[in-house]
Protein backbone atom coordinates (compact mmCIF):
# COMPACT_ATOMS: atom_id res chain seq x y z
CA UNK A 1 0.00 0.00 0.00
CA UNK A 2 2.75 2.32 1.09
CA UNK A 3 4.88 1.50 -1.94
CA UNK A 4 1.99 2.20 -4.25
CA UNK A 5 1.42 5.63 -2.75
CA UNK A 6 5.09 6.39 -3.29
CA UNK A 7 4.89 5.34 -6.93
CA UNK A 8 1.86 7.48 -7.46
CA UNK A 9 3.50 10.59 -6.06
CA UNK A 10 6.67 9.88 -8.08
CA UNK A 11 4.59 9.56 -11.18
CA UNK A 12 2.32 12.47 -10.39
CA UNK A 13 4.78 15.21 -11.21
CA UNK A 14 5.71 14.15 -14.77
CA UNK A 15 2.10 13.24 -15.48
CA UNK A 16 0.98 16.66 -14.32
CA UNK A 17 3.68 18.33 -16.38
CA UNK A 18 2.66 16.34 -19.45
CA UNK A 19 -1.00 17.20 -18.83
CA UNK A 20 -0.08 20.86 -18.65
CA UNK A 21 1.77 20.62 -21.96
CA UNK A 22 -1.20 19.00 -23.66
CA UNK A 23 -3.67 21.30 -21.93
CA UNK A 24 -2.34 24.50 -23.48
CA UNK A 25 -2.76 23.69 -27.19
CA UNK A 26 -6.03 21.89 -26.47
CA UNK A 27 -7.52 24.82 -24.55
CA UNK A 28 -6.28 27.35 -27.11
CA UNK A 29 -7.93 25.27 -29.83
CA UNK A 30 -11.12 25.05 -27.75
CA UNK A 31 -11.19 28.85 -27.24
CA UNK A 32 -10.66 29.46 -30.95
CA UNK A 33 -13.46 27.01 -31.74
CA UNK A 34 -15.76 28.84 -29.34
CA UNK A 35 -15.01 32.12 -31.09
CA UNK A 36 -15.70 30.61 -34.52
CA UNK A 37 -18.88 28.88 -33.36
CA UNK A 38 -20.01 32.05 -31.61
CA UNK A 39 -19.99 33.78 -34.97
CA UNK A 40 -22.82 31.45 -36.00
CA UNK A 41 -25.06 32.74 -33.18
CA UNK A 42 -25.65 29.38 -31.57
CA UNK A 43 -28.71 29.17 -29.35
CA UNK A 44 -26.77 27.09 -26.84
CA UNK A 45 -24.37 29.99 -26.23
CA UNK A 46 -27.24 32.36 -25.53
CA UNK A 47 -28.73 29.85 -23.13
CA UNK A 48 -25.38 29.41 -21.38
CA UNK A 49 -25.08 33.16 -21.03
CA UNK A 50 -28.55 33.67 -19.60
CA UNK A 51 -28.25 30.74 -17.20
CA UNK A 52 -24.88 31.98 -15.91
CA UNK A 53 -26.28 35.50 -15.49
CA UNK A 54 -29.31 34.06 -13.75
CA UNK A 55 -27.26 31.90 -11.42
CA UNK A 56 -24.86 34.69 -10.48
CA UNK A 57 -27.44 37.49 -10.32
CA UNK A 58 -27.96 37.17 -6.53
CA UNK A 59 -24.17 37.25 -5.95
CA UNK A 60 -23.67 40.25 -8.21
CA UNK A 61 -26.66 41.97 -6.65
CA UNK A 62 -25.25 41.43 -3.17
CA UNK A 63 -21.94 43.01 -4.23
CA UNK A 64 -23.46 45.81 -6.30
CA UNK A 65 -25.74 47.03 -3.54
CA UNK A 66 -23.11 48.07 -0.94
CA UNK A 67 -20.88 49.44 -3.70
CA UNK A 68 -23.79 51.59 -4.87
CA UNK A 69 -24.27 52.86 -1.33
CA UNK A 70 -20.59 53.76 -1.03
CA UNK A 71 -20.74 55.55 -4.37
CA UNK A 72 -23.81 57.48 -3.25
CA UNK A 73 -21.95 58.50 -0.08
CA UNK A 74 -18.96 59.71 -2.08
CA UNK A 75 -21.27 61.64 -4.40
CA UNK A 76 -23.07 63.36 -1.54
CA UNK A 77 -19.71 64.56 -0.17
CA UNK A 78 -18.83 65.81 -3.64
CA UNK A 79 -22.20 67.54 -3.84
CA UNK A 80 -21.50 69.46 -0.63
CA UNK A 81 -18.74 71.36 -2.41
CA UNK A 82 -20.97 72.48 -5.22
CA UNK A 83 -24.05 73.33 -3.19
CA UNK A 84 -23.88 77.07 -3.74
CA UNK A 85 -23.48 77.05 -7.51
CA UNK A 86 -25.91 74.18 -7.88
CA UNK A 87 -28.52 76.05 -5.89
CA UNK A 88 -28.27 79.08 -8.12
CA UNK A 89 -28.42 76.95 -11.25
CA UNK A 90 -31.50 75.15 -9.96
CA UNK A 91 -33.23 78.44 -9.12
CA UNK A 92 -32.70 79.64 -12.66
CA UNK A 93 -33.82 76.33 -14.06
CA UNK A 94 -36.89 76.42 -11.82
CA UNK A 95 -37.83 79.81 -13.23
CA UNK A 96 -37.54 78.46 -16.73
CA UNK A 97 -39.46 75.30 -15.93
CA UNK A 98 -42.30 77.26 -14.36
CA UNK A 99 -42.71 79.05 -17.65
CA UNK A 100 -42.69 75.72 -19.44
CA UNK A 101 -45.25 74.38 -17.02
CA UNK A 102 -47.51 77.23 -17.96
CA UNK A 103 -47.06 76.41 -21.63
CA UNK A 104 -47.59 72.70 -21.01
CA UNK A 105 -50.84 73.30 -19.10
CA UNK A 106 -52.19 75.43 -21.89
CA UNK A 107 -51.20 72.87 -24.51
CA UNK A 108 -52.68 70.05 -22.47
CA UNK A 109 -56.05 71.75 -22.33
CA UNK A 110 -55.89 72.48 -26.00
CA UNK A 111 -54.81 68.92 -26.71
CA UNK A 112 -57.69 67.42 -24.72
CA UNK A 113 -60.17 69.61 -26.52
CA UNK A 114 -58.78 68.70 -29.93
CA UNK A 115 -58.68 65.02 -29.07
CA UNK A 116 -62.30 65.28 -28.04
CA UNK A 117 -63.13 66.79 -31.39
CA UNK A 118 -61.32 64.00 -33.23
CA UNK A 119 -62.65 61.14 -31.06
CA UNK A 120 -59.02 60.19 -30.56
CA UNK A 121 -58.30 56.88 -28.80
CA UNK A 122 -55.17 56.78 -26.66
CA UNK A 123 -52.64 54.40 -28.23
CA UNK A 124 -50.75 52.77 -25.47
CA UNK A 125 -50.29 52.84 -21.78
CA UNK A 126 -46.85 51.74 -20.72
CA UNK A 127 -45.75 50.36 -17.46
CA UNK A 128 -42.25 50.45 -16.06
CA UNK A 129 -40.13 47.76 -14.52
CA UNK A 130 -37.27 49.19 -12.50
CA UNK A 131 -34.06 47.22 -12.18
CA UNK A 132 -30.73 47.74 -10.48
CA UNK A 133 -27.59 47.51 -12.57
CA UNK A 134 -25.67 44.55 -11.15
CA UNK A 135 -22.90 44.22 -13.72
CA UNK A 136 -21.48 46.28 -16.53
CA UNK A 137 -19.22 45.09 -19.26
CA UNK A 138 -15.83 46.66 -18.81
CA UNK A 139 -14.44 45.52 -22.13
CA UNK A 140 -13.06 47.85 -24.75
CA UNK A 141 -15.63 46.77 -27.33
CA UNK A 142 -18.73 46.04 -25.25
CA UNK A 143 -21.33 48.43 -23.94
CA UNK A 144 -24.00 46.59 -22.00
CA UNK A 145 -25.28 46.22 -18.47
CA UNK A 146 -26.90 43.41 -16.55
CA UNK A 147 -29.98 44.33 -14.52
CA UNK A 148 -31.60 42.33 -11.75
CA UNK A 149 -35.04 42.02 -13.32
CA UNK A 150 -35.97 39.32 -15.78
CA UNK A 151 -38.81 37.30 -17.21
CA UNK A 152 -40.22 36.86 -13.69
CA UNK A 153 -40.89 40.59 -13.51
CA UNK A 154 -42.23 40.71 -17.06
CA UNK A 155 -39.15 41.86 -18.93
CA UNK A 156 -39.11 40.81 -22.57
CA UNK A 157 -36.49 40.85 -25.26
CA UNK A 158 -36.53 44.04 -27.33
CA UNK A 159 -38.07 46.30 -24.70
CA UNK A 160 -36.63 49.77 -24.26
CA UNK A 161 -34.62 50.68 -21.18
CA UNK A 162 -34.52 54.26 -19.94
CA UNK A 163 -32.73 56.04 -17.14
CA UNK A 164 -33.15 59.59 -15.98
CA UNK A 165 -33.93 61.75 -18.97
CA UNK A 166 -33.48 59.40 -21.85
CA UNK A 167 -33.20 56.05 -23.46
CA UNK A 168 -30.34 53.80 -22.42
CA UNK A 169 -30.72 50.86 -24.75
CA UNK A 170 -32.79 47.81 -25.39
CA UNK A 171 -33.13 44.44 -23.71
CA UNK A 172 -30.99 41.94 -25.59
CA UNK A 173 -31.15 38.83 -23.41
CA UNK A 174 -33.63 37.80 -20.76
CA UNK A 175 -33.15 35.23 -18.04
CA UNK A 176 -35.65 34.47 -15.32
CA UNK A 177 -34.21 37.01 -12.88
CA UNK A 178 -31.65 38.98 -14.87
CA UNK A 179 -31.64 40.73 -18.22
CA UNK A 180 -28.90 42.22 -20.36
CA UNK A 181 -29.45 45.68 -21.76
CA UNK A 182 -27.50 46.56 -24.90
CA UNK A 183 -26.58 50.23 -24.53
CA UNK A 184 -27.13 52.66 -27.40
CA UNK A 185 -23.35 53.12 -27.59
CA UNK A 186 -22.68 49.43 -28.31
CA UNK A 187 -21.38 48.41 -31.69
CA UNK A 188 -24.45 46.26 -32.30
CA UNK A 189 -27.04 48.81 -31.23
CA UNK A 190 -29.40 50.16 -33.92
CA UNK A 191 -32.38 52.25 -32.86
CA UNK A 192 -34.90 53.86 -35.21
CA UNK A 193 -35.10 57.56 -34.32
CA UNK A 194 -36.59 60.74 -35.66
CA UNK A 195 -35.38 64.34 -35.54
CA UNK A 196 -37.92 66.04 -33.33
CA UNK A 197 -38.04 69.32 -35.24
CA UNK A 198 -37.88 68.22 -38.89
CA UNK A 199 -39.40 64.73 -38.45
CA UNK A 200 -36.59 63.25 -40.56
CA UNK A 201 -36.11 59.59 -39.82
CA UNK A 202 -32.75 57.97 -39.15
CA UNK A 203 -31.13 55.12 -37.28
CA UNK A 204 -28.99 55.68 -34.21
CA UNK A 205 -25.98 53.37 -34.52
CA UNK A 206 -23.52 52.77 -31.70
CA UNK A 207 -19.80 52.50 -32.37
CA UNK A 208 -18.34 52.07 -28.85
CA UNK A 209 -17.73 55.78 -28.47
CA UNK A 210 -19.69 57.88 -25.99
CA UNK A 211 -21.61 59.50 -28.85
CA UNK A 212 -23.44 57.19 -31.27
CA UNK A 213 -23.84 58.13 -34.95
CA UNK A 214 -26.95 58.88 -36.99
CA UNK A 215 -27.07 56.74 -40.10
CA UNK A 216 -29.54 56.46 -42.99
CA UNK A 217 -30.40 60.12 -42.56
CA UNK A 218 -32.09 61.40 -45.75
CA UNK A 219 -29.67 63.47 -47.80
CA UNK A 220 -32.07 66.42 -47.91
CA UNK A 221 -32.49 66.36 -44.15
CA UNK A 222 -31.66 69.55 -42.35
CA UNK A 223 -29.87 68.82 -39.13
CA UNK A 224 -28.09 71.18 -36.79
CA UNK A 225 -26.26 70.91 -33.51
CA UNK A 226 -28.68 70.90 -30.60
CA UNK A 227 -31.52 69.16 -32.46
CA UNK A 228 -33.52 66.86 -30.25
CA UNK A 229 -33.66 63.15 -31.16
CA UNK A 230 -36.52 60.87 -30.08
CA UNK A 231 -37.44 57.28 -30.89
CA UNK A 232 -39.55 56.97 -34.03
CA UNK A 233 -41.37 53.80 -33.13
CA UNK A 234 -40.48 52.25 -36.50
CA UNK A 235 -40.24 48.51 -36.21
CA UNK A 236 -42.86 48.42 -33.51
CA UNK A 237 -40.44 47.56 -30.74
CA UNK A 238 -39.99 50.92 -29.09
CA UNK A 239 -42.75 53.33 -28.20
CA UNK A 240 -42.45 56.47 -30.33
CA UNK A 241 -41.35 59.72 -28.74
CA UNK A 242 -38.98 58.47 -26.07
CA UNK A 243 -36.22 61.07 -25.64
CA UNK A 244 -32.85 59.84 -26.92
CA UNK A 245 -30.44 62.76 -26.99
CA UNK A 246 -29.32 65.86 -28.84
CA UNK A 247 -27.18 66.29 -31.93
CA UNK A 248 -23.73 67.02 -30.54
CA UNK A 249 -21.60 67.44 -33.63
CA UNK A 250 -21.80 67.39 -37.41
CA UNK A 251 -18.53 66.65 -39.07
CA UNK A 252 -18.33 65.88 -42.79
CA UNK A 253 -21.83 64.47 -42.83
CA UNK A 254 -21.09 62.39 -39.74
CA UNK A 255 -23.76 63.30 -37.21
CA UNK A 256 -23.09 62.34 -33.60
CA UNK A 257 -25.66 62.30 -30.83
CA UNK A 258 -25.07 62.99 -27.17
CA UNK A 259 -27.47 60.69 -25.27
CA UNK A 260 -29.59 62.30 -22.54
CA UNK A 261 -29.00 59.39 -20.21
CA UNK A 262 -25.68 59.35 -18.42
CA UNK A 263 -24.55 55.93 -19.59
CA UNK A 264 -21.32 55.85 -17.64
CA UNK A 265 -22.94 55.96 -14.21
CA UNK A 266 -25.98 53.76 -14.50
CA UNK A 267 -27.35 52.54 -11.22
CA UNK A 268 -31.00 51.94 -11.99
CA UNK A 269 -32.77 51.55 -15.30
CA UNK A 270 -36.46 51.41 -16.11
CA UNK A 271 -37.61 48.87 -18.65
CA UNK A 272 -40.57 50.21 -20.61
CA UNK A 273 -43.33 47.68 -20.95
CA UNK A 274 -44.80 48.83 -24.23
CA UNK A 275 -47.75 46.47 -23.99
CA UNK A 276 -47.26 45.44 -27.62
CA UNK A 277 -50.10 42.95 -27.54
CA UNK A 278 -52.56 45.80 -27.10
CA UNK A 279 -51.31 47.66 -30.15
CA UNK A 280 -50.34 44.98 -32.62
CA UNK A 281 -52.12 41.84 -33.72
CA UNK A 282 -50.91 38.70 -31.95
CA UNK A 283 -49.13 37.48 -35.09
CA UNK A 284 -46.95 40.60 -35.22
CA UNK A 285 -45.57 40.21 -31.71
CA UNK A 286 -41.87 39.41 -32.07
CA UNK A 287 -40.84 35.95 -31.05
CA UNK A 288 -37.61 35.83 -29.04
CA UNK A 289 -35.61 34.07 -31.74
CA UNK A 290 -37.24 35.58 -34.82
CA UNK A 291 -34.85 36.93 -37.45
CA UNK A 292 -34.49 40.69 -37.63
CA UNK A 293 -36.67 41.16 -40.68
CA UNK A 294 -39.59 39.34 -39.11
CA UNK A 295 -39.71 41.77 -36.19
CA UNK A 296 -40.94 44.54 -38.35
CA UNK A 297 -44.61 45.09 -37.82
CA UNK A 298 -46.28 45.93 -41.13
CA UNK A 299 -48.64 48.53 -39.70
CA UNK A 300 -45.93 50.63 -38.08
CA UNK A 301 -43.77 51.07 -41.17
CA UNK A 302 -42.64 54.54 -42.05
CA UNK A 303 -45.22 56.34 -44.20
Amino acid sequence: MRERAGTVSRLALPVRAAAQRVALPFLIFLSAMLVVLGKADILLFDRARTSVSDALAPVLDAVAQPLGTVAAGVRSVEDLFSVYGENRRLREENQRLLQWQEVARRLETENTELKGLLHFEPQDVHGYITGRVIANSGGAFLRNVLVDVGAREGVERGQAAIAGEGIVGRVAEVGSRAARVLLVTDLNSRIPVVLDSSRDRAVLAGDNTARPRLIYLPSKATVKVGDRIVTSGSGGIFPPGLPVGVVASIDNGLVRVEPYAELSHLEYVRIVDFGLSGVLPQSAIPMPKAPKGARRAPDTEAP
Binding site: L27, M33, V52, V133, T209
Partner: protein, 175 residues
Protein backbone atom coordinates in the same frame (compact mmCIF):
# COMPACT_ATOMS: atom_id res chain seq x y z
CA UNK B 1 11.02 44.14 8.35
CA UNK B 2 9.63 41.43 6.14
CA UNK B 3 11.74 39.83 3.49
CA UNK B 4 10.59 40.47 -0.08
CA UNK B 5 8.72 37.68 -1.78
CA UNK B 6 11.11 35.27 -3.45
CA UNK B 7 9.65 33.58 -6.48
CA UNK B 8 9.48 29.87 -5.95
CA UNK B 9 8.98 27.38 -8.72
CA UNK B 10 8.30 24.23 -6.78
CA UNK B 11 7.23 24.46 -3.26
CA UNK B 12 5.46 22.12 -0.98
CA UNK B 13 2.16 23.67 -0.05
CA UNK B 14 0.04 22.82 2.88
CA UNK B 15 -3.61 22.54 2.32
CA UNK B 16 -6.00 22.87 -0.52
CA UNK B 17 -6.84 26.41 0.55
CA UNK B 18 -3.37 27.71 -0.28
CA UNK B 19 -3.17 25.88 -3.56
CA UNK B 20 -6.51 27.28 -4.66
CA UNK B 21 -5.60 30.85 -3.74
CA UNK B 22 -4.23 31.91 -7.16
CA UNK B 23 -7.27 30.48 -8.93
CA UNK B 24 -9.60 32.07 -6.39
CA UNK B 25 -8.01 35.51 -6.75
CA UNK B 26 -8.16 35.20 -10.54
CA UNK B 27 -11.89 34.48 -10.37
CA UNK B 28 -12.31 37.32 -7.90
CA UNK B 29 -10.75 39.56 -10.56
CA UNK B 30 -13.43 38.38 -13.02
CA UNK B 31 -16.11 39.69 -10.65
CA UNK B 32 -14.20 42.90 -9.99
CA UNK B 33 -14.25 43.53 -13.75
CA UNK B 34 -18.02 43.28 -14.14
CA UNK B 35 -19.32 44.68 -10.85
CA UNK B 36 -20.23 48.35 -11.24
CA UNK B 37 -17.51 50.09 -9.22
CA UNK B 38 -18.93 53.60 -9.68
CA UNK B 39 -15.42 55.00 -9.82
CA UNK B 40 -14.89 58.06 -11.97
CA UNK B 41 -13.08 57.11 -15.17
CA UNK B 42 -13.59 53.40 -14.57
CA UNK B 43 -17.20 53.61 -15.57
CA UNK B 44 -17.06 52.81 -19.26
CA UNK B 45 -13.83 50.90 -19.60
CA UNK B 46 -12.45 48.89 -16.69
CA UNK B 47 -8.88 47.65 -16.46
CA UNK B 48 -8.24 44.00 -17.25
CA UNK B 49 -7.88 42.80 -13.67
CA UNK B 50 -7.83 39.19 -14.83
CA UNK B 51 -4.80 39.79 -17.04
CA UNK B 52 -2.98 41.23 -14.00
CA UNK B 53 -3.79 38.18 -11.90
CA UNK B 54 -2.72 35.79 -14.67
CA UNK B 55 0.55 37.71 -15.12
CA UNK B 56 1.28 37.85 -11.41
CA UNK B 57 0.68 34.18 -10.72
CA UNK B 58 2.41 33.05 -13.91
CA UNK B 59 5.56 34.76 -12.70
CA UNK B 60 5.51 34.01 -9.00
CA UNK B 61 3.62 30.74 -8.68
CA UNK B 62 3.22 29.23 -12.15
CA UNK B 63 2.52 25.84 -10.61
CA UNK B 64 -0.64 27.02 -8.86
CA UNK B 65 -2.64 28.52 -11.72
CA UNK B 66 -3.42 25.73 -14.18
CA UNK B 67 -4.28 26.44 -17.80
CA UNK B 68 -7.75 25.04 -17.18
CA UNK B 69 -8.37 27.72 -14.53
CA UNK B 70 -7.09 30.40 -16.91
CA UNK B 71 -9.45 29.13 -19.60
CA UNK B 72 -12.41 28.96 -17.20
CA UNK B 73 -11.77 32.48 -15.87
CA UNK B 74 -11.75 33.82 -19.43
CA UNK B 75 -14.92 31.94 -20.27
CA UNK B 76 -16.76 33.25 -17.19
CA UNK B 77 -15.61 36.77 -18.00
CA UNK B 78 -17.03 36.49 -21.53
CA UNK B 79 -20.29 35.00 -20.24
CA UNK B 80 -20.79 37.80 -17.70
CA UNK B 81 -19.61 40.52 -20.05
CA UNK B 82 -21.83 39.49 -22.92
CA UNK B 83 -18.74 39.17 -25.09
CA UNK B 84 -18.29 36.63 -27.89
CA UNK B 85 -17.34 33.43 -26.06
CA UNK B 86 -13.72 32.30 -26.16
CA UNK B 87 -12.05 35.63 -26.86
CA UNK B 88 -10.92 36.32 -23.30
CA UNK B 89 -9.89 32.68 -22.83
CA UNK B 90 -7.78 32.87 -25.94
CA UNK B 91 -6.12 36.14 -24.88
CA UNK B 92 -5.43 34.91 -21.34
CA UNK B 93 -4.09 31.50 -22.40
CA UNK B 94 -1.71 33.05 -24.91
CA UNK B 95 -0.68 35.67 -22.34
CA UNK B 96 0.07 32.95 -19.83
CA UNK B 97 2.04 30.90 -22.34
CA UNK B 98 4.02 34.00 -23.32
CA UNK B 99 4.80 34.91 -19.71
CA UNK B 100 5.83 31.34 -18.88
CA UNK B 101 8.25 31.29 -21.80
CA UNK B 102 9.82 34.59 -20.70
CA UNK B 103 9.58 33.95 -16.97
CA UNK B 104 13.35 33.76 -16.45
CA UNK B 105 13.70 37.42 -17.42
CA UNK B 106 11.54 38.62 -14.55
CA UNK B 107 12.27 36.20 -11.75
CA UNK B 108 14.57 37.70 -9.14
CA UNK B 109 14.19 41.25 -10.42
CA UNK B 110 12.57 44.19 -8.73
CA UNK B 111 9.10 45.52 -9.29
CA UNK B 112 10.15 47.95 -12.03
CA UNK B 113 11.27 45.13 -14.30
CA UNK B 114 8.12 43.15 -13.56
CA UNK B 115 5.97 46.20 -14.28
CA UNK B 116 7.87 46.88 -17.51
CA UNK B 117 7.21 43.29 -18.49
CA UNK B 118 3.53 43.82 -17.80
CA UNK B 119 3.51 46.90 -20.03
CA UNK B 120 4.78 44.70 -22.84
CA UNK B 121 2.25 41.99 -22.13
CA UNK B 122 -0.68 44.40 -21.86
CA UNK B 123 0.33 45.99 -25.18
CA UNK B 124 0.59 42.60 -26.89
CA UNK B 125 -2.72 41.46 -25.38
CA UNK B 126 -4.61 44.58 -26.43
CA UNK B 127 -3.28 44.45 -30.01
CA UNK B 128 -4.22 40.78 -30.25
CA UNK B 129 -7.66 41.41 -28.76
CA UNK B 130 -8.28 44.32 -31.14
CA UNK B 131 -7.28 42.13 -34.09
CA UNK B 132 -9.45 39.19 -33.14
CA UNK B 133 -12.49 41.30 -32.24
CA UNK B 134 -12.15 43.24 -35.50
CA UNK B 135 -11.99 39.92 -37.36
CA UNK B 136 -15.01 38.65 -35.42
CA UNK B 137 -17.17 41.64 -36.30
CA UNK B 138 -15.70 41.91 -39.79
CA UNK B 139 -14.81 45.58 -39.49
CA UNK B 140 -11.91 47.70 -38.34
CA UNK B 141 -12.82 48.78 -34.83
CA UNK B 142 -11.84 52.09 -33.33
CA UNK B 143 -8.56 51.28 -31.54
CA UNK B 144 -8.85 54.14 -29.03
CA UNK B 145 -10.95 52.36 -26.38
CA UNK B 146 -8.51 49.45 -26.56
CA UNK B 147 -5.51 51.73 -26.07
CA UNK B 148 -7.35 53.46 -23.21
CA UNK B 149 -8.03 50.12 -21.56
CA UNK B 150 -4.38 49.10 -21.91
CA UNK B 151 -3.20 52.36 -20.33
CA UNK B 152 -5.73 51.96 -17.50
CA UNK B 153 -4.64 48.35 -16.98
CA UNK B 154 -0.94 49.21 -16.85
CA UNK B 155 -1.46 52.15 -14.50
CA UNK B 156 -3.58 50.23 -12.00
CA UNK B 157 -1.25 47.21 -12.02
CA UNK B 158 0.85 48.35 -9.02
CA UNK B 159 -2.23 48.46 -6.77
CA UNK B 160 -3.50 45.05 -7.82
CA UNK B 161 0.01 43.63 -7.70
CA UNK B 162 0.40 44.92 -4.13
CA UNK B 163 -2.83 43.21 -3.10
CA UNK B 164 -1.79 39.96 -4.78
CA UNK B 165 1.61 40.10 -3.06
CA UNK B 166 -0.21 40.46 0.27
CA UNK B 167 -2.23 37.36 -0.54
CA UNK B 168 0.92 35.55 -1.60
CA UNK B 169 2.77 36.48 1.58
CA UNK B 170 -0.11 35.19 3.64
CA UNK B 171 0.15 32.02 1.62
CA UNK B 172 3.88 31.66 2.29
CA UNK B 173 3.44 32.39 5.98
CA UNK B 174 0.96 29.58 6.27
CA UNK B 175 3.12 27.14 4.34
Amino acid sequence: MRAPVKPVLFQRDTGLFNRLMPTATTFFCVFATVVPLHLPGFAVVTPSFVLMAVYHWSIYRPDLLPFVATFAAGLLLDLLNGAPLGISSLVLLLARALVLSQRGVFVGHGFTVVWAGFVGLAAAAVVFEWLIVSLFYGMVLDPRPFVFQAVLTVSTYPVVSYLLVRVQRGLLMRA
